[in-house]
C-alpha cells in the first residue's frame, strides 16, 4: 500500500511547460501571485483567468489533477466566503436578518476572494505538477544562490529538501513495518476516542524517530566518505538551461504584471 506512493504530485508528460527551466516556473508563480493580489476590477480578474486557463492548456495536465489540489482548502474557502459575505461593511444592503447583514459590496468581495483563492491554488499546483521534485530543488538552489552573500544557505536548503525527498519513501515503509509489528502484538490503532488514538501513535513514533536518527548518522558518514564538504566548489550533473522559451515566458509574466500594476496606479490617481 505504502510502496507505490508518488513523490510530490509530479504529472509526467511532455509539454512546453514541463520542458521549461524550473527557475522560470518558480519566478512565474511569484509574478502570478502578484497579479492575483493586485487584481481588483472584474476586467482584471478576467485577464488573470484567461492567463490561468491558457497556462493549464499549455501544461497538458488533465484538469482533474489540478482541481484535486482544491479539496484540502474547501473549508478555508467556505470560511473566507462566509466571513467576507457577512463582515464587509458599506455598500447597499441586500438582505438583513437579526445580526446578519449582507450588502452588495460583501457579495462582491466574497466572490472575488473565492475566485482569487481558486486561481491561486490551481496556478501554484501547476508548478509542482509540471516540475519534478529534483528539478524544483535545483531551481530553488540556483535562484537563492545570489543571496548566499547575505548568509542564505541556498545549497544547504536544497540538499536538505532533496534528502527529505529521498527518505520519504523509506520512512513510509518503515512506518508501515512498525504499524504491522505493533498490530501483530495486539496494539489497537483503530478504536477509542481521539486522545486514545493519539496515545496509540506513541509506540509508532518512538521507534520511527530512533530509526530516522540512526539513518541520518549513517548517511552523514557515507556523505563524508564521498568527499562532501558543503556547497563550496561543487559542480552539478544536472544542467539548468535557460532557453528562448523561458525568456519569452518570463517576459510575458513581467509585461502582464506591469500592466496590472499600471492599471492599479492609473485608477488610484483617478485617471480611470
Amino acid at each position: 500500500m505504502l510502496r507505490d506512493i508518488t513523490l510530490g504530485q509530479y504529472y509526467n508528460t511532455a509539454s512546453p511547460l514541463h520542458a521549461m527551466d524550473p527557475r522560470t516556473k518558480i519566478l512565474g508563480v511569484i509574478f502570478y501571485m502578484v497579479i492575483l493580489f493586485t487584481a481588483s476590477t472584474v476586467w482584471e480578474y478576467a485577464l488573470a483567468a484567461i492567463f490561468t486557463v491558457f497556462v493549464i492548456k499549455v501544461s497538458r495536465v488533465p484538469v482533474r489533477f489540478i482541481t484535486r489540489g482544491l479539496k484540502p482548502i474547501v473549508i478555508i474557502m467556505l470560511f473566507t466566503l462566509v466571513l467576507n459575505l457577512f463582515m464587509t461593511s458599506g455598500g447597499k444592503e441586500l438582505f438583513h436578518w437579526w445580526i446578519f447583514r449582507v450588502t452588495d459590496l460583501g457579495v462582491e468581495t466574497a466572490v472575488k476572494m473565492a475566485v482569487r483563492l481558486v486561481m491561486l491554488i490551481m496556478g501554484t499546483s501547476l508548478l509542482t505538477l509540471t516540475t519534478s521534485p529534483i528539478a524544483l530543488t535545483g531551481g530553488i538552489e540556483r535562484l537563492l544562490s545570489p543571496f548566499r552573500k547575505i548568509g542564505v544557505p541556498s545549497h544547504e536548503i536544497a540538499m536538505m529538501m532533496s534528502i527529505a525527498l529521498r527518505f520519504i519513501p523509506i520512512l513510509m515503509e518503515e512506518t508501515d513495518k512498525i504499524i504491522k509489528a505493533q498490530t501483530s502484538r495486539g496494539a489497537d490503532f483503530e478504536s477509542g476516542n481521539l486522545i486514545q488514538r493519539v496515545k496509540a501513535m506513541v509506540p509508532i513514533l518512538v521507534p520511527l524517530f530512533v530509526g530516522a536518527f540512526r539513518r541520518a548518522d549513517e548517511l552523514a558518514v557515507a556523505m563524508e566518505c564521498r568527499c562532501y564538504n558543503g556547497g563550496e566548489g561543487r559542480t552539478s550533473l544536472r544542467e539548468l538551461r535557460f532557453r528562448r522559451v523561458d525568456g519569452g515566458a518570463l517576459c510575458a509574466c513581467v509585461i502582464l504584471t506591469a500592466a496590472m500594476a499600471a492599471l492599479k496606479i492609473l485608477r488610484m490617481v483617478g485617471v480611470l
Binding site: L7, P133, I134, S162, I163, L165, R166, P169, I170, E173, R215, E218, L219, V221, A222, M223, E224, C225, R226, C227, Y228, N229, G233, R234, T235, S236, L237, R238, E239
Partner: protein, 281 residues
C-alpha cells in the same frame, strides 16, 4: 607494492568511563591489486579496522598509510577519500540523491569535476556495475542488490585505487548477494582495484585472494582461503563458520571416511567425494 599499511595500530574508545580497547599493535600490509577478506566474530574489531582506512576513525596510536597518505593528515583527507571508497552495509543509508545517476555523480560533484567529464564517468561506472538501464530510476524502486551496486558505482565514478566494503551483503537476499560479489570480483580482476571486504559470509571470503581472521582485536590467521578454511576446528573455536563444501568433506572425514579435505566450493567437494568412491572400488 603495498597500498595499505597499518603499523602498530591501536584504537580504543570510552564507554561509561572505562576504556575499551578495540585493538592494540595491529600490523597489516595489503598489496595493490589484492582482494582481501577480513573475517571475525562480532566485536573482533574488523569494522573498526575498516573505518581506519579512509579516516572515519584515526589511530589512537600507531600509523595507517593508504595510497601513500597518512590517514591522520587532515590536509589530504579528500585526496585519501577519493582514492579509498567505502561501501556500507545498508544500501538505503548511503544513497543521497533521488535519482540513480545523480547519486552516482554525488562524489564527483563534491570534487568539483566538470560536467562533461562527470557525465562520462557516471555513465561508465553505471555500465560497469550493469545498472546503466536504471539510471533514471528512483532508488526506492530498486532491489537491495541493485541499490548496493548503485552505491558501488558512486564510489567507482571517483576512480579509487581501493574499495573497502563493510559487510555489503548483510542486508541482501541471496540473489542480491551474488550480484554484489560478482561485481566486486570483476572490479578486482578487470580494473585491478584493491578490495578489502569485511564479511561474515564464508562463501564470500572464499573468493578472496587472502583472508585475514581477527579475534578480539588481534590477527589470528592471515593466509590464502585454501589454507585457513580446512582448519575447521580452529575456525569454530573463533566463532566462525567454514564454507558448506569444506564442512561437508570435513564431517565425512571425521566420521571415518577416507576422503581428501580442503574443498572450498561445491565443485571441489564433489570431486573429493568422487575420488573417494573411485578409490574404494
Amino acid at each position: 607494492m603495498s597500498i595499505i599499511k597499518a603499523e602498530n595500530l591501536s584504537f580504543s574508545y570510552e564507554s561509561e568511563g572505562a576504556e575499551v580497547k578495540v585493538f592494540e599493535n595491529l600490523n597489516i600490509d595489503i598489496d595493490e591489486g589484492e582482494f582481501v577478506a577480513v573475517l571475525g566474530h562480532n566485536g573482533s574489531g574488523k569494522s573498526t579496522f575498516a573505518k581506519h582506512l579512509n579516516a572515519i576513525l584515526t589511530p589512537k596510536s600507531g600509523r595507517v598509510t593508504v595510497c601513500g597518505i597518512d590517514t591522520a593528515d587532515e590536509s589530504r583527507l579528500f585526496e585519501l577519500r577519493k582514492n579509498v571508497g567505502m561501501v556500507f552495509q545498508n544500501p538505503d543509508n548511503q544513497i543521497v540523491a533521488t535519482v540513480v545517476e545523480e547519486d552516482v555523480a554525488f562524489g564527483l560533484e563534491n570534487l568539483g569535476v566538470p560536467r562533461e567529464e562527470m557525465r562520462r564517468r557516471v555513465d561508465e561506472a553505471l555500465k560497469v556495475v550493469r545498472m546503466y538501464d536504471y539510471r533514471t530510476y528512483a532508488p526506492h524502486l530498486l532491489s537491495g542488490g541493485q541499490k548496493q551496486r548503485v552505491a558501488i558505482a558512486g564510489i567507482l565514478a571517483m576512480e579509487p585505487r581501493c574499495i573497502v566494503l563493510d559487510e555489503p551483503t548483510a542486508m541482501l537476499d541471496p540473489i542480491g548477494r551474488d550480484e554484489v560479489m560478482e561485481t566486486v570480483r570483476r572490479l578486482n580482476r578487470e580494473k585491478g582495484i584493491t578490495i578489502v571486504l569485511i564479511t561474515h559470509y564464508m562463501d564470500e571470503a572464499v573468493k578472496a585472494d587472502r583472508c585475514i581472521v581477527m579475534d578480539r582485536g588481534k590477527i589470528v590467521m592471515d593466509d590464502r582461503p585454501a589454507s585457513i578454511f580446512p582448519k575447521v576446528e580452529e575456525m569454530r573455536a573463533l566463532g566462525l563458520d567454514v564454507p558448506q563444501a569444506t564442512e561437508l568433506v570435513w564431517e565425512l572425514k571425521r566420521r571415518g571416511l577416507n576422503i581428501e579435505t580442503g574443498a572450498l566450493r561445491s565443485a571441489g567437494a564433489i570431486e573429493s567425494i568422487l575420488k573417494m568412491t573411485r578409490d574404494q572400488l
